[in-house]
């Protein structure tokens, strides 16, 4: 089956097409388009999707599923990827599966010992999650200052997920054929907004 991978939780604008064997679950990347520009998520994502699908020798109508990174991510562009996935899912009639972006990065980890995934959360903070040796998430995702973290045996510092990683992280759900979970963003932070206090007087006397 043909799966479209999308992620805009990092500064990368990521789109790719991955073929997944329904029987064996083997996943093979066919084409991808990635641009590193945090301000171009809204501009480039759909063109990247079309180019990647075209490069893979297909059209959008050939897609069987979408896997989309839902953060955590510090950029307003996170929503560009998610709403693109939601609108494609609606208009193509294919399911869109949410993927924690840190899990998608973890899916590219070499097996061995337990590890931590860290991404830049800006404001001098990091998003992080801890995984066991098999890549199962044990803790997180969280957002913290780096100095507040306990040491980790191994840190994976890939800055963005690959299309293959995104699809690997969603693969169990995709192959199960189950109704996907809703595409809910992992913001981890409240909006910056304060309720107004007492109004300031304008009279000087």
């Amino acid at each position: 089956m043909l799966v479209l991978a999308i992620d805009t939780a990092t500064l990368a604008v990521t789109a790719g097409v991955v073929s997944v064997d329904r029987e064996t679950g083997a996943a093979r990347p066919l084409a991808e388009r990635v641009t590193l520009d945090a301000r171009a998520h809204g501009e480039l994502l759909t063109p990247h999707v079309l180019d990647a699908v075209g490069d893979a020798g297909h059209g959008l109508a050939d897609l069987d599923a979408i896997a989309c990174g839902v953060g955590p991510g510090p950029y307003t562009g996170l929503r560009a990827g998610m709403v693109t996935a939601a609108a494609l899912s609606h208009s193509l009639g294919v399911p869109a599966y949410p993927v924690c972006t840190l899990d998608a990065i973890a899916a590219s980890a070499e097996p061995g010992e337990p590890f931590r995934v860290l991404t830049d959360a800006r404001r001098r903070e990091v998003y992080w999650a801890d995984y066991d040796a098999e890549g199962r998430r044990l803790d997180g995702p969280h957002v913290d200052k780096p100095a507040e973290l306990t040491p980790a045996a191994r840190v994976l510092d890939h800055e963005q997920p690959t299309p293959l990683g995104i699809v690997e992280a969603a693969k169990a759900a995709i192959l199960s054929g189950a109704q996907p979970d809703p595409l809910t963003p992992l913001y981890l932070r409240r909006p910056d907004a304060t309720e107004p206090g007492t109004r300031k007087r304008v009279s000087t006397s």
Binding site: P47, R79, V83, H90, V202
Partner: protein, 348 residues
Amino acid sequence: MSRIVMGIESSCDETGVGLVRLHDDGTVELLADEVASSVEQHARFGGVVPEVASRAHLEAMVPTAQRAFATAGLELSDVDAIAVTAGPGLAGALLVGVSAAKAYAAALGVPLYGVNHLAGHIAVDTLQHGPLPAPALALLVSGGHTQLLRVDDIAGKITEIGSTVDDAAGEAYDKVARLLELPYPGGPPIDKAAKNGDPTAIAFPRGMTGPRDARFDFSFSGLKTAVARWVEAAQRRGEEIPVDDVAASFQEAVADVLTAKAVRAATESGIGTLVISGGVAANSRLSSLAAERCEAAGIELRVPRPRLCTDNGAMIAALGAHVVAAGCAPSSLDFSANPALPVSTVSL
């Protein structure tokens, strides 16, 4: 053959999806107008919080589109073109609508038009009152905009004649409402209170009406401060605030300046049609005073019904239909939203 145009709006705190039918004779028929508002989430902050609005757009976008198609009894595959607000508006909010519109256009294989939100507020009038005579004058009044526009061609040529130099009219309503301890947004409660008040009770200043002031620009910041000073002085004297009179007198000052300048602009340019649109167009005193003054000046007044005046997707679909009918080239799929898009750019 008639064409179906889908419109997507997300410039501020309303997620709107509209569907219209563009007939062969150029008339545009409203089929669906679904809106999800996040206004209640902003109320406690006393104004729109961009991040809160953007989050709400993401949640509401596809469900709102689904409702629009259900209401219209149409399938996605019936769509012939898509229009989306490219600006002006809040950057993060615009991004959601623009991204969704690109995905819909790519999936459906139809042309996409990035269009101007302000022009949409004018175009929406054609859904109710039919084709707009050219030239027409438009007074656009909302929480974010206060502008006088000359419309030579709704699909291509709109010129700003004047605008506010500080607060938008709707913003002044919100601030005065807060001063009078009335709820947010301030327009409806002030309009309601004003009905029981005396509009001549307090002589609040008419901003930008001096002999040396720009003739078609507006200012509402001084008016808001004058209301605050008056209320504070009354409080100092230990008097109870006559909320109804303050609301009526403030509203009279706003409606007076807006209508006087609009009618003067139309008269001086020999324009016979005035459209008033935007959220504040729903204000009862603004429309009654405009009707009175337009009649005296022999100007046709067109005010869309309140539901069409506030932000919605139908206005963007309507504008998109006019842009399609005019044969304008579609936007490239890599365009970016422009929070400061000038009104002279009707479509990208």
